[in-house]
């Protein structure tokens, strides 16, 4: 086993194990049962903002951005700006709405807005979509471990799943938030030092990188605006798919639901947006630099950046960087594993058991489901390694109708039949777009699944809500009678 991997693993055992042990000790002292799903709903600005920022720093940010900037140039930063817009939507909109209503899961919110049947349908699909994301995060954990150890991707993914499952099953969201806080400090310290260090170890420094692109007539790769075509196609596609699919995703919403109050979520925007957005600058720079150095460029876009880091930086800095990267991947894995476990315990079991589950039984059930999810994800990833970006885009498309029916149900009107038609038609179109040649027949091959599903959801919802005569007013719609002028309550 390589020294780098051993040191990264020791770091993670100390941080994850130490915090897990402390939370267990505290739980015993206070004779409390850990709230795995929501951590007692008392997350502060620091905890919430860091968790929200790091939950959305996954495999695409760490490895995908190096690859994207190698090929496209600095315009790849629009992927980060799309996530900044997403965090704005969560902190100023969706996150505050779910916290105000007090739901623990997105299906529960949909159940409150519409009916129990729709809650069950969305819970089943939502849980399986997030489970799909868990398998992809397991694969990317495996890529990181494989790069450090030289082991096969299959076995590395199994190791990644074991660490990730241990991470979240110890103390749920509170454990994840504490580890995130420490990992964020380590990660930012390491990328700042590495960015400065690279200026001294790159063959011709950052000036040489600039000169390379200028002399090859590719100056546009140094600008975030790229070329007009590139800017329009790449940035719009990134914003579209990230914002609609992720702004009501259980992973991010679970963090919002655990916040102390709405003000915490609103104030966190000033911290979480720059923490999340600025992270991407480092991988983009690494990708840009790697493409200018023949020995790394020859390895191709997937491996060039990662190899440059290992080859040019000193071991201690590589360890710090990998520990930070692994921390970001583990955090996304943890929130992804916690989300379907919470949906299963609360919406599929808890909602159908008379009187609901006791806190202790709910904690045990969530822990068991996390372990089962980790085991299945590990065994699936041992054999299957799909393209991460394509698979994520496909999975996101399933969630897009949730955004539209939630916004309409809160601020316009709600008819459960219309909402059912919206989700079913969106999912059918998503399947047809994936498994038939419908998009070629219609001449719409340029539209990705996330785009067509969002368009179908919006059109179906608008037409359905205009035509319906039995809709209730949106939950936040003010009723205009004088003595009922306050916001409608649940």
């Amino acid at each position: 086993m390589s020294n780098i991997l051993i040191m990264v693993l020791i770091y993670n055992v100390i941080v994850i194990g130490g915090i897990g042990w402390y939370l267990k000790w505290k739980e015993k002292q206070n004779h409390e049962v850990t709230d795995m799903a929501l951590g007692g709903r008392d997350a502060s600005v620091a905890m919430f903002s860091v968790t929200l920022a790091i939950t959305y720093l996954g495999s695409a940010h760490v490895y995908g951005l190096m690859e994207m900037s190698f090929v496209l140039g600095a315009v790849a930063l629009w992927f980060c700006f799309a996530h900044t817009i997403l965090i704005c939507v969560i902190c100023l909109g969706t996150g505050r709405w779910v916290r105000r209503i007090g739901s623990a899961t997105i299906p529960e919110l949909i159940g409150k807005l519409y009916n129990q049947r729709l809650r069950t349908y969305t819970a089943c699909v939502g849980a399986m979509v997030v489970f799909g994301l868990v398998t992809l995060e397991t694969q990317t954990l495996g890529i990181g471990i494989s790069a450090m150890s030289g082991w096969s991707l299959g076995w590395s993914s199994v190791v990644g799943a074991i660490i990730g499952t241990a991470y979240v099953s110890m103390g749920g969201i509170k454990q994840t938030m504490w580890v995130n806080l420490i990992n964020a400090i380590v990660m930012y310290a390491s990328i700042i030092i590495a960015g400065i260090y690279l200026a001294f170890v790159l063959p011709s420094g950052w000036e040489g990188v600039t000169q390379h692109y200028v002399s090859h007539g590719e100056e546009f790769k140094l600008s975030v605006l790229g070329t007009p075509d590139l800017l329009l196609s790449f940035s719009l596609a990134a914003i579209f798919s990230v914002v609609f699919a992720q702004s009501v995703n259980q992973q991010g919403m679970q963090a919002a639901m655990s916040a102390k109050d709405e003000q915490v979520i609103k104030r966190s925007l000033w911290i979480s947006a720059p923490i999340n957005g600025l992270f991407g600058v480092f991988p983009v720079l690494v990708g840009l630099a790697a493409a200018t150095i023949p020995e790394f460029a020859a390895l191709g876009p997937k491996l060039a950046g990662a190899t440059l880091i290992v080859e040019l930086l000193p071991t201690w800095l590589v360890v710090l960087l990998q520990a930070g990267f692994l921390g970001a991947l583990l955090s996304t894995f943890a929130m992804s594993a916690l989300a379907p476990a919470t949906i299963f315990a609360k919406d599929i079991i808890g909602a159908n058991v008379k009187g609901g589950l006791s806190p202790l039984r709910e904690q045990r059930l969530i822990r068991i489901v996390i372990l089962v999810i980790g085991a299945i994800a590990a065994s699936m990833t041992f054999f299957l390694h799909p393209n991460v970006i394509l698979a994520i885009t496909w999975l996101f498309a399933w969630l897009a109708p949730f955004f539209f029916i939630i916004v309409a149900g809160l601020f316009w009107k709600r008819d459960s039949r219309v909402a059912l038609v919206v989700v079913i038609s969106s999912w059918v179109v998503n399947l047809l777009w994936s498994f038939t040649n419908l998009k070629e027949v219609l001449g719409l091959a340029a539209l990705e699944n996330a785009h067509i599903v969002a368009i179908v959801s919006l059109i179906t919802l608008v037409i359905g809500n205009i035509l319906t005569k039995q809709a209730k007013p949106g939950l936040f719609v003010k009723i205009k009678e004088p003595n009922l002028s306050k916001t409608a309550h649940v």
Partner: protein, 36 residues
């Protein structure tokens, strides 16, 4: 100014601009909601 510093400042400026514009839009929506 080298490309690393330039990209960092551009990213920081863009992120802050997005945050400020988003807050302004949300305030306008809230005001409109109160007015209706």
């Amino acid at each position: 100014m080298n490309i690393a510093v330039e990209l960092f400042l551009t990213a920081f400026g863009t992120i802050m601009a997005i945050v400020i514009v988003s807050i302004l839009i949300s305030k306008i929506i809230e005001k409109c909601g109160e007015g209706s």
